[in-house]
Amino acid sequence: MAAERGGDSVSTRTEILALVRRYYAEKFGDRSFDAATDPVRYAGRVFGAEELCNLVDASLDFYLTAGRFTEQFEAGIADYFGVSDALFVNSGSSANLVALTALTSPRLGERQLRPGDEVLTVAAGFPSTVAPIVQNGLVPVFVDVRLSDYNVDPALLEAAVSPRTKAIMLAHTLGVPFDLDAVMELVEKHGLWLIEDNCDALGSRYRGTLTGTFGHLSTLSFYPAHHITTGEGGSVVTDDEELARIARSVRDWGRDCYCAGGENDTCGKRFAQQFGSLPYGYDHKYVYSHLGYNLKATDMQAAIGCAQLERLGDFTAARKANHATLLEALRPFEDRLLLPSAPANADPSWFCFVVTVCADAGFSRNELTRFLEANRVETRNLFSGNLLRHPAFEHIERRVAGELTNTDAIMERTFFVGVYPGLDEPRLEHMAEVFVRFMNGERADDGASGASSSRAG
């Protein structure tokens, strides 16, 4: 009913936040694990009292839309990458949509992507890497991937370039950097745009440099399965201020004005410009230079992100350590399981532990994942497998460069389990033990327990 009015509100706020800390300890403090009953998730929110306090702090501001935490979070991401701009959006998928759509801006002149232009990508991934290409009337060109790291084969990528090719949009699959030497060479040779879908690779490095800083634009996801979380959330990252301004416009309804919500006339020209055939001086706040959306997130989400960003270094280290533990445990089974490996120059912040069942293993991927799930080890397929076999993508306008043999193999034989920082030694031990039991011949029907209650929503 009223705006905050000083008084005791500051001390009340302090008291509330102290209670939140206590609540956190009471509610979330117990991280014990019972292998007989508890699931081992493939991913999950890892957070401390700071996240909860920031969230409540932001809610007590009741600013709701992008405010002080958003500003802090965006600045923190930009600083982390050492770039000029980071835009907080409401998901990684929105980040991909904003990034790709930004390249269709008329502000880019000759370099503007136009309907019919081709964008090189892969089908072995997440649909929202590809959907923005289709949504913008561009033509995705699908190239096969390698089974060693699930990333695009650079030789096939080069062979796929045509006179209509104008951009490359690729994910660093499951945290593993794609061959940036080869891709950047292609980008420079053919004057292409590069969007790095860095949603699964926050913290990964290539030749010591963070992925997400090589392309003209890159994207992040903060969905709970990802390296840090804001619940729903994502980001567009760029070191090009013109692209950043366009991306902000696309994110913010397509408006030309860049004033933050609740602010007016920060440019000093609100009523003093000419746009299109509008009357001179038409209110800049309501001038639209792009077909845009509202893809912003809230200050409460950003508040969580601020605390999560502080943990990123620890999270990255934990992911690497957990991955190494699983790799060591599964090495004895390399004759039947293709285990993950990082290519030269790549230092992944692993999204997960990915496994492909060898064609001659004597068991199927689904037999193995059924056993893992029955024993409360959560699994996921490598997202869509082959995206072109899904109903929404079967009939899109596209070009397929060569065969998608490995993409189909991934669809048939690949899956992953978790390495997220919430996995501790007992959970990893349980996971490894379940793998070992299966590899030693035990099957789901041989007495596994808890099958019906093992799946997370």
Binding site: Y63, G67, A75, S84, E241, D265, G268, R270
Partner: protein, 230 residues
């Protein structure tokens, strides 16, 4: 435009240039964000409570170079209530809030450029001038007008540029001695440049006059960039 940040600052030093023209040097309480020469900041005198709304503020070109973000400078002339408050309230040690960076009036040093500056409008160019290097291939012509010679606040910087950058030329005009800054008066210098871009910063009357004169001299409007303010 880089991510805008709101940061507390303390007035580190004040320069009184006379005629109610001042330069304020601000020490940011946290690292100031990157900015480009020609961009501006918002300065608020009233406290900003994070989580609340930004208080009344005015915009000022960032006069200090981007390489020296530990000390931000703005130059202002007292022209209204807000700058009047600045004159009365700002002292060494005063706390203020700024948010930055804003604006796309950024000089592209890759081309030959002509910079028309009137009065404190020169601050839109000072960060660029600070960054001028001696070996630059493109040429810079600064046409700088002020009411009186004492109001050439940045004359030492201009002289320094002339010393270290052979590609730099300055034409200074004082109204009481040389008359108003005009395109005709500098056209001989302009014609020595190769396909220059024109940047205009100053009071509205000067901007409209110079714009019209450039048009009369056959300069296409697309190469004229104006730092227009309401």
């Amino acid at each position: 435009m880089a991510v805008v940040r709101r940061i507390p600052c303390v007035v580190e030093a004040l320069e009184d240039h006379g005629e109610h023209v001042y330069t304020v040097h601000l020490r940011p309480g946290v690292q100031a964000p990157r900015f480009k020469p020609g961009q501006f900041l918002h300065l608020a005198l009233d406290p900003y409570e994070p989580g609340g709304f930004w208080p009344d503020s005015r915009v000022f070109s960032i006069a200090s170079p981007p390489e020296a973000r530990e000390l931000l400078a703005v130059t202002y002339a007292v022209k209204g209530d807000f700058t009047g408050r600045m004159e009365r309230e700002l002292r060494v040690g005063t706390s203020v809030w700024v948010k930055l960076p804003y604006g796309d009036f950024v000089v592209d040093g890759a081309n030959d450029v002509v910079l028309f500056a009137g009065g404190t409008g020169v601050t839109a160019f000072t960060a660029f001038l600070h960054s001028l290097v001696s070996g630059a291939e493109s040429r810079v012509l600064l046409c700088y007008g002020a009411r009186r010679a004492e109001l050439f606040v940045y004359q030492p910087l201009v002289e320094d540029c002339a010393r270290r950058a052979p590609s730099f030329e300055a034409r200074l005009f004082t109204e009481d001695r040389d008359g108003r800054l005009s395109v005709e008066a500098v056209w001989d210098s302009v014609t020595r440049l190769h396909a220059p871009i024109f940047y205009l910063s100053g009071p509205p009357s000067m901007l409209s006059a110079i714009s019209a004169e450039l048009c009369d001299h056959g300069v296409p409007p697309e190469v004229v960039k104006t730092d227009a303010w309401e």
